[in-house]
């Protein structure tokens, strides 16, 4: 088993423990609710015989025969509410557009009601539909599965209706088809995923709605409009298109109301609201506040309408029992909602309308049924789970039986004595009793379904700590092969054992006792191993006197300690909600501070090393500020300044969290088509973005040309030469199309063609890198004589070519000299092959690969924030230059990358996560990234998932990919440095070989690459541990679902991404390494 194989084993084992830690923690942290698979039937023991009306409904006499449910996705309350105080013409696009609701409320107050319809977060459509049909509370677990909607198995109103032989027609959003397959007699589904498409769903519904209404044979008609939601996602509520959309909805409602007959009730509802940017998913007031409008042409309620200004609030799960009882079907078994009482005080079939007592009694009857149903559910749930706190459950039962007894007594009273005076007040008291029972039950359930499995959580935390421990242990033992070998067996044994433990835990569905038992066993075993290792080491140390630990110097110097401190600060930041909210500022603050520390350190180093000259008084007088400022030694300070400038500029691309109330949305985050009023601004932004993406590609070309990696006709060179510029061109064209109005855009096929060209072009480049990563070129022997003449092959750019030729032949010379001293045949006049680009053979492969990936990221990020990615590239470049500077001035030839540089890279990836317009919240995920190049009707969810993932973690991917460059960059940059300076400075003996030194010291190379990758992963693992620990410790915090839980989820996904990308880039380095080895062997053979 070679060194390489061992490294991979360690990488994989550590990743298994990490993944296991994350998964087990998630299992305990994200809450779950057990599903009770019971259905209510018409004949339950709490309904009275007289209540069974057979055809006219069971449990209760039905009030309406038919119901129309119109769901306008994302209908926020203030969209539906008509604000009379706004002067006509000054309303915002979403205000006062649904005039029909207002008219009905004014003209027929007892036939219509408008409510605030409070959603339970998460406010995603799938969760909402589950709540709206089953009446149950959502838990966090479901939130992730928005795209993979699965059939509802719990009892729900759709199934109840079907059991009563009612037929349902559904049209609109196709999520319904996924939730309720084969339940509808007729359905008109339309794809819901494509948020760019504002009209297909709505127009489809409008075409079928009125004809369907006029047909007979349906009892419930569900129409789910998506236009408003999609409009919000695409343009936000403040865009004029929103006004058009809402006006269209108004017309639909008007025509629906016109066709309604007296036995029909209409519910118009929004499943959730939207934020001011048009997103949803969280639990802010704007997202939770939806609207519910109930209307019937016949009298709906006896209650006097409240004032228009204060519409009452009802919960979204209240819709289920209300609708069930109004239509005379049993309430679904797992419902926790409470009926809307005022809709139950009018019963025309029982002449209840006349007497006030009868009205209240009717209401109570409905409430009682509701309470009974909830009690049955609680009972069933308590049988399968021990979630409910005992005494609270008992109290609730007492409250229930009290009300029940009171009711019995009242009925007896009425039966014997007729109506008397305090009857009404007693009835009203009873009503409040039932209401408070239902409200308390809901409160209790909300409380317990926020219950955590602390065993799994602590196991997850322990595993994460453990893998961090192994990583640190291994890092300290990777500075020489012997130490690595020794430590390897310990780490492998410990981590292998623990990953087996993880696997057992995961697949055995974990009982607490066995888990603890296994955990102790495993912990004991690893302690024994580590103690054994220490004893072994002590014995070894006695044997040989080489106990020096040179790698520690990189960790415990001034900048190393500062870097550790900064890592620790980041870690601590996760425990404060304010720092998590302002993490974008925090990460850039720490990044900039670390860079200042580094540059000051470098500056101090070179000031400290130079001999102090005694300056005469005369010389002192001549103080030239420009000479001071243009001094070469100021370079680190200028680099730091530029670096900070880039970071500062990138702050303009940040998105706003809802909690950052002072934040204003950056104009870079708006879609290009929303610049409707200012054409110059539109153009300026477009050209700015295009220039921002073209500059790095020019830089790339210049770099590769300069180092001679762009010669010859290999696949890699050709694809770099042509595919990347072609990709850029098509990105620019694609962005130009974005400026068109969306209506035009959707009909153009090129909007999908252009991005696909970009994907293909870059995939070709990526494949080319994998096929042959060596972008070197051997000059044919024939042209050797004509060194300084332009040949047919290299006709343009003679001077740089000549320079490269000279430089590379120099490199090659020393390379060959080295080889000859190694024992090969020695002859002075052996023909030396001239090879281009050998000095940058590793980094060119890395850079080309990065360039191809970056281009895809540019495309996915869109024209707004792509410029930020260029700033990230600029920062990476400066970071590399800074490190080279450091190496040069400290005359440091070791390849050990200091911890502070690794932390710099880690912080960069964190900072640019925010600077590419993301935040660690669900509403800021850019769902539209899934549509770059695709229409939106996806068969599977892997591709759109990948695209959204790449968009979200673009910075992590980019920064982690460039990680191995830290190792390569100083090798060829310092070589340039010393060549230019001549022989005066020969501290770096292997410098003129460039990156070829890597292949000469293969073992050292492997160790360094491994160490670099592991160190980088360590930084992010510390972050992961911070967010995990914060989520665990603060699990009862008010903000846990809003701040800490999303932060943890984002961190764990980003950690996994980083791990994969690091493995990829390390793998690529080794790929280049083995290819180069093969190439050198062949070269030697041919000679």
């Amino acid at each position: 088993m070679g060194l390489k194989a061992r490294m991979w084993i360690l990488f994989i084992l550590i990743s298994i423990i990490h993944a296991g830690g994350i998964l087990i923690f998630i299992k305990g942290f994200l809450l779950k609710r057990s599903v009770v698979l019971k259905n209510n039937t018409c004949h339950v023991d709490f309904t009275m015989k007289v209540d069974n009306h057979e055809e006219e409904g069971c449990w209760m006499h039905r009030r309406f025969q038919k119901a129309i449910v119109i769901i306008i996705d994302a209908l926020r309350f203030d969209f539906a509410y008509y604000n009379t105080s706004i002067i006509k013409g000054q309303e915002l696009p979403f205000e006062n557009k649904l005039k029909i609701i207002h008219e009905k409320l004014i003209h027929s107050p007892q036939k219509s009601r408008l409510y605030r319809f409070i959603a339970d977060p998460p406010t995603t459509t799938l969760q909402r539909l589950k709540g709206l049909t089953t009446g149950s509370l959502p838990t966090f677990v479901d939130a992730g599965s928005n795209f993979a909607s699965s059939e509802i198995t719990e009892d729900n109103i759709i199934d109840q209706l079907r059991r009563q032989q009612k037929s349902i027609v559904q049209m609109g959003d196709d999520t319904w088809e996924g939730l309720f397959p084969n339940r509808f007699i007729r359905s008109y589904p339309f794809p819901s995923f494509n948020v760019k498409d504002l009209h297909t769903v709505d127009n489809g519904i409008i075409k079928n709605l009125i004809p369907e209404l006029k047909k007979s044979g349906w009892d419930m008609l569900i129409a789910h409009f998506l236009g408003v939601d999609h409009c919000g996602h695409r343009f936000g509520p403040y865009h004029p298109v929103m006004g058009e959309k809402l006006t269209q909805m108004n017309d639909v409602l008007r025509s629906v109301i016109k066709t309604m007959d007296n036995d029909t009730v209409l519910f118009v509802l929004g499943d959730h609201g939207m934020t001011r940017t048009g997103d949803h998913g969280g639990d802010s007031k704007d997202e939770v506040d939806a609207a519910l409008f109930v209307y019937s042409p016949s009298k709906l309620t006896e209650t006097v309408a409240p004032k228009l200004e204060d519409s009452p609030s009802v919960s979204q799960i209240d819709l289920v029992p209300t609708m069930s009882l109004l239509l005379g079907v049993p309430v679904p078994f797992s419902n926790l909602g409470m009926i809307i009482p005022e809709l139950f005080d009018h019963g025309p079939w029982a002449q209840a309308g006349t007497s006030e007592v009868k009205q209240v009694f009717h209401k109570i009857k409905a409430l009682r049924l509701n309470a009974h149903q909830v009690k049955e559910y609680l009972h069933a749930y308590s049988l399968i789970s021990e979630d409910f706190p005992k005494h609270q459950y008992k109290d609730l039962n007492t409250l229930f039986s009290l009300s029940e007894n009171e009711l019995q007594r009242l009925i007896m009273n009425i039966y014997h004595n007729g109506e008397h005076e305090d009857l009404l007040s007693r009835l009203e008291k009873l009503e409040t009793n039932y209401k408070s029972y239902l409200t308390n039950v809901r409160g209790m359930c909300q409380g317990i379904w926020a219950k955590f499995d602390t065993t799994s959580m602590s196991l997850g935390l322990f595993l994460t700590c453990f893998s961090i421990g192994i990583t640190v242990f291994q890092l300290f033992h990777t500075n020489s092969q012997e130490r690595f070998e020794v430590a390897f067996w310990t780490s492998t044994a410990v981590s292998g054992w623990s990953s087996a433990f993880v696997a057992v835990l995961w697949f055995s569905l974990m009982e607490a006792k066995t888990a603890i038992m296994l955990g102790t066993m495993f912990f004991g075993f690893s302690i024994i191993l580590i103690v054994g290792f220490i004893i072994y080491k002590l014995m070894m140390a006695r044997g040989s006197e080489q106990s020096s630990t040179p790698s520690l110097s990189g960790y415990f110097s001034i900048h190393g300690i500062c870097a550790i401190l900064i890592t620790f600060m980041y870690f601590c930041g996760f425990f404060s909600n304010s720092y998590v909210v302002f993490e974008d500022s925090m990460s850039s603050f720490l990044l900039q501070s670390l860079l200042w520390i580094q540059s000051t350190f470098i500056y101090a180093q070179q000031c400290g090393t130079e001999p102090s000259k005694q300056i005469s008084e005369k010389k002192r007088a001549k103080f030239d500020i420009f000479r001071t400022l243009t001094n070469r030694k100021m370079k680190p300070l200028y680099l730091a300044l530029t670096f900070n400038l880039c970071v500062r500029l990138s702050m303009n691309f940040r998105a706003c969290r809802e909690e950052q109330w002072t934040c204003e949305t950056s104009s870079f985050l708006l879609p290009l088509s929303s610049f409707t009023d200012s054409i110059p601004l539109k153009n300026a932004r477009y050209f700015f973005s295009v220039i921002a993406i073209i500059l790095p590609s020019i830089g790339l070309r210049w770099f590769l040309k300069h180092y001679g990696n762009l010669n010859g006709k290999s696949l890699l060179v050709l694809s770099t030469k042509y595919c990347i510029p072609i990709g850029m061109l098509f990105i620019a064209l694609y962005w130009a199309l974005q400026a068109l109005p969306p209506q035009v855009l959707d009909s153009l096929p090129v909007t999908r063609l252009f991005p696909r060209i970009v994907y293909v072009a870059n995939l070709i480049t990526i494949v080319a890198v994998f096929v042959n990563p060596l972008s070197i070129y051997i000059l044919p022997k024939a042209t050797m004589e004509s060194h300084y003449e332009p040949t047919a092959k290299i006709s343009n750019n003679i001077i740089p070519q000549m320079y490269n030729q000279m430089k590379d032949s120099l490199n090659e010379l020393s390379e060959n000299e080295h080889k000859t001293t190694n024992g090969a045949e020695t002859s002075d006049d052996v023909e030396l092959p001239v090879v281009y680009g050998l000095a940058t053979v590793y980094s060119s492969a890395m850079i080309i690969f990065t360039a191809a990936v970056t281009e895809i990221l540019y495309l996915l990020l869109g024209d707004g924030v792509a410029a930020s990615l260029s700033l990230a590239l600029c920062n990476i470049f400066i970071g590399l230059e800074m490190y080279t500077c450091w190496k040069c001035w400290m005359k440091d030839t070791s390849w050990d990358v200091p911890w502070s540089v690794i932390v710099l890279w880690g912080l960069m990836s964190s900072q640019y996560f925010f600077a590419t317009g993301h935040q660690a919240t669900v509403p800021t995920i850019k769902w539209e990234a899934a549509f770059t190049g695709f229409h939106g009707d996806f068969e599977s969810h892997i591709l759109p998932g990948l695209l959204i993932h790449l968009n979200t973690f673009a910075s992590e991917v980019l920064v982690s990919l460039t990680l191995p460059l830290i190792l390569c960059w100083p090798l060829f940059r310092t070589s340039r440095y010393s060549i230019r300076k001549g022989s005066s400075d020969n501290w770096n003996e292997g410098a003129d070989k460039g990156e070829l030194v890597l292949i000469e010291n293969s073992v050292q190379f492997q160790l360094c690459v491994f160490k670099l990758g592991l160190g980088y992963v360590l930084f992010h693992a510390v972050k992961l541990l911070g967010s995990m620990l914060a989520a665990a410790v603060l699990r009862r915090h008010l903000m846990v679902w809003k701040i800490f839980a999303p932060r943890f989820i984002f961190q764990s996904v980003s950690f996994i991404t980083i791990y994969v990308v690091v493995i990829m880039s390390v793998g690529l380095m080794q790929h280049v390494h083995s290819h180069l080895g093969g190439w050198l062997n062949r070269l030697e053979k041919t000679k």
């Binding site: 304010s578 909210v581 302002f582 603050f589 501070s593 000031c607 400290g608 102090s612 300044l641």
Partner: protein, 215 residues
């Protein structure tokens, strides 16, 4: 007044200067506590601090009056360093267009605490500065009491300003969390800490070595 080579006999005056500066800050904090306006606070503090330092330097250290010609240079450098600090603050994320005056006041304060003492004693040449800030090994290489005060107070006030930025994002809704008040407080606190540290250090060295008398 630039480039004065100080002998160890200057220990006493340096101590006095440090104590006076700290006292000045405490008094200032006390008097402005009830009626606090960050801009006037900073302005008045700068004026008082400059006057104290100049008077002390001239009277106690017998700076030659001829060197007063370098004052103009010093002032230009002071303004220059204010601009540098302002730039750094903006790079760190201070708003570019709004609250410019507040940011600049912080920069001036930093220039007064971190750069001005150095400018008055070391002058404007880079060599002296790099010697003091990058080559001094505080426990090994001997340097004068005044230089140690400059080094400690300068580094500590920059550090204090940096630490002063930490409470800004917290959701405590306190008036002092507004930019740049916490940083101003941090600067002055750091400056005082540096001076106190330097004083203790000098006293400690004196007690250990007792080579020179206090005055």
């Amino acid at each position: 007044m630039a480039g004065t080579t100080l002998k160890s006999s200057s220990t006493g005056p340096a101590l006095l200067l440090n104590v006076l500066n700290v006292l000045c800050i405490i008094l200032f904090a006390y008097f402005t506590y009830t009626n606090f306006n960050i801009l006037t606070f900073v302005e008045i503090y700068i004026i008082v601090s400059v006057i104290i330092q100049v008077l002390m330097l001239v009277s106690l250290f017998n700076v030659h009056p001829r060197k007063i010609s370098n004052v103009m240079e010093g002032i230009i450098c002071w303004i220059g360093s204010s601009l540098v600090f302002h730039t750094i603050a903006v790079l760190y994320g201070a708003p570019l267009f709004s609250s410019v005056s507040e940011t600049f006041h912080l920069a001036m304060l930093l220039a007064t605490t971190a750069a001005l003492p150095g400018l008055m004693v070391l002058g404007i040449r880079k060599e002296e500065w790099t010697r003091l800030f990058f080559k001094t090994r505080i426990f090994s290489s001997p340097s004068s009491a005044l230089e140690i005060s400059i080094l400690a107070s300068g580094v500590c006030s920059v550090l204090g300003a940096w630490l002063g930025a930490f409470p800004i994002p917290l959701d405590w809704d306190r008036p002092w969390q507004v930019w740049p008040i916490s940083c101003v407080i941090g600067t002055l606190a750091g400056y005082s800490c540096g001076l106190i540290f330097a004083t203790c250090f000098i006293l400690y060295q004196n007690m250990k070595g007792s080579k020179s008398k206090l005055f």
